[in-house]
């Protein structure tokens, strides 16, 4: 089981607590850079309850604040958007570590069962 200690900064590089939906987003972002709509597309493929922007943005903000994801600005979408740019997210080292800790815990649970 990963450490459940609340992340007080990512300097110690210890895995931090992630919720189920955080885990889903981290899994989708692992090894690639995606923007919000693409993340939703990936998450909603076989999901019984469809996620929307209103649910995704708080998760991305939370992961960002905890240092589990990082982002960069993309190019302007088009002129109709008023020059708005997308944010592309990707998993940080800490994020990958935290995700791996959760996944390992689940595997060990499965073995024990």
């Amino acid at each position: 089981m990963p450490s459940l200690k609340k992340n007080s900064g990512n300097k110690n590089n210890k895995p931090v607590r992630v919720s189920a939906i955080d885990e889903d987003v981290l899994t989708v972002l692992l090894g690639r850079e995606l923007y919000g709509l693409e993340i939703l597309d990936q998450l909603n493929l076989e999901r019984p309850n469809q996620l929307k922007f209103g649910s995704l943005y708080p998760v991305l903000n939370r992961l960002d604040k905890k240092g589990l994801v990082e982002w960069k600005w993309g190019d302007q979408v088009d002129t109709s958007s008023g020059g708005a740019r997308r944010k592309y997210y990707k998993v940080t080292g800490l994020g990958a570590k935290s995700l791996k800790a959760v996944q390992d815990y689940r595997v060990s649970l499965a073995y024990r069962a």
């Binding site: 900064g9 960069k72 997308r86």
Partner: protein, 348 residues
């Protein structure tokens, strides 16, 4: 988007919102004043009230002659100005002399009381006469019986009895006739007195009622207004100064609030941003840039999916509102318990 532009757009919308709220407040105030105005508007013109007051004074006997003269002059003035020809003539008619009629009625009443007392005396006298006659007859009968007992004077007694009976019969007849005549006389007298009294009272009542009725009928026929009398007139007269004061106050407040409302609406219509920006740019001032970019992508995707414009609009509005809530409430609350995380930019 530059922070300065974002700031300007936010200020623009803040000012618009403030002006809209102020307009709504002024509109509500105007509505309230309009309601007050309608509740306190005059049901009838002031001259109808003055006419009603003059008629009330003339129809009331207890008013002084000075008041009645003033009421007559008012009645004439109003009827002349408002073309009420019958009303103008009414005060000059002799049937308004109510004082003489009241005296007449009082005389009749006194006379009726005297007649009743006289009748009572007459009846008492007749009753006493009847009683006396009855006693006399009884004594005659006793005497007759005494004579019968005295058998030796039977014949004489028989004659005396016959004579007494013959004498009593016309006496009784005369007494009964006189009593009947007296009673008839008294009854006739009383009937006349009652009739006169009732007639006098009716004349007085009819005069007042007719006077008011004629004026009311002419007023209604000529101008369509109702002549107020009794408690209604009292209420109207007592509430009139207050009603007029509230009415003027409401008119002033309503006109000033409408002026302010029109000014605010004109200001709101002309208040535009000096920068020509698209609708998306305006929305970007309130939501994160990336959220707007995502919404634009979503819109393009929905349009490609051949959804109807109404459905697209509905979906985007829903997403916008949810994002608005998430960004300004949920995320702000969560950030209170999370580290700053400013260093997670890839470019850093």
């Amino acid at each position: 988007m530059e922070k300065e532009i974002k700031y300007k757009i936010r200020n623009l919308w803040r000012d618009r919102l403030l002006m809209s709220v102020a307009s709504l407040v002024v509109l509500g105030f105007s509505g309230q004043q309009l309601r007050t105005l309608l509740a306190h508007r005059a049901i009838q013109p002031a001259w109808v009230l003055e006419l009603s007051q003059a008629v009330r004074i003339l129809a009331t006997d207890s008013k002084s002659s000075q008041e009645q003269e003033y009421a007559i002059s008012e009645l004439q003035r109003i009827s002349q100005a408002r073309d009420l020809q019958i009303t103008m003539l009414l005060p000059h008619l002799p049937w308004k002399n109510l004082k003489q009629q009241v005296e007449r009625v009082q005389n009749w009443k006194l006379h009726q009381e005297l007649a009743r007392a006289h009748a009572r005396v007459l009846v008492l006298e007749r009753v006493q006469a009847l009683e006396l006659a009855q006693k006399q007859r009884q004594s005659n009968q006793e005497k007759t019986r005494f004579l019968v007992i005295k058998r030796d004077r039977a014949l004489a007694l028989e004659r005396a009895l016959a004579l007494a009976l013959a004498r009593n019969k016309p006496l009784n007849q005369n007494l009964e006739l006189e009593l009947a005549q007296d009673l008839a006389l008294v009854l006739d007298h009383n009937r006349d007195a009652d009739k006169a009294l009732i007639q006098g009272l009716e004349i007085k009542l009819v005069n007042n009622t007719l006077f008011v009725f004629i004026i009311a009928a002419e007023l209604e026929q000529t101008h369509g207004f109702i002549l107020q009398q009794g408690n209604n007139l009292e209420d109207l007269l007592s509430s009139e100064p207050n009603r007029a004061r509230v009415l003027i106050k409401s008119i002033l407040l309503l006109s000033s609030s409408l002026l302010i409302l029109i000014s605010l609406l004109v200001l709101l219509a002309n208040y535009k941003s000096p920068l020509k920006l698209s609708r998306t740019a305006h929305l970007m001032a309130f939501l994160p840039e990336e959220a707007m970019a995502e919404l634009c992508c979503l819109k393009q995707r929905l349009q490609q999916g051949k959804m109807s414009p109404w459905e697209i609009r509905k979906r985007l509005t829903h997403e916008f509102l949810i994002l608005f809530f998430a960004y300004y409430i949920q995320v702000q609350l969560e950030n209170l318990f999370l580290p700053s995380g400013d260093h997670n930019h890839i470019d850093d």
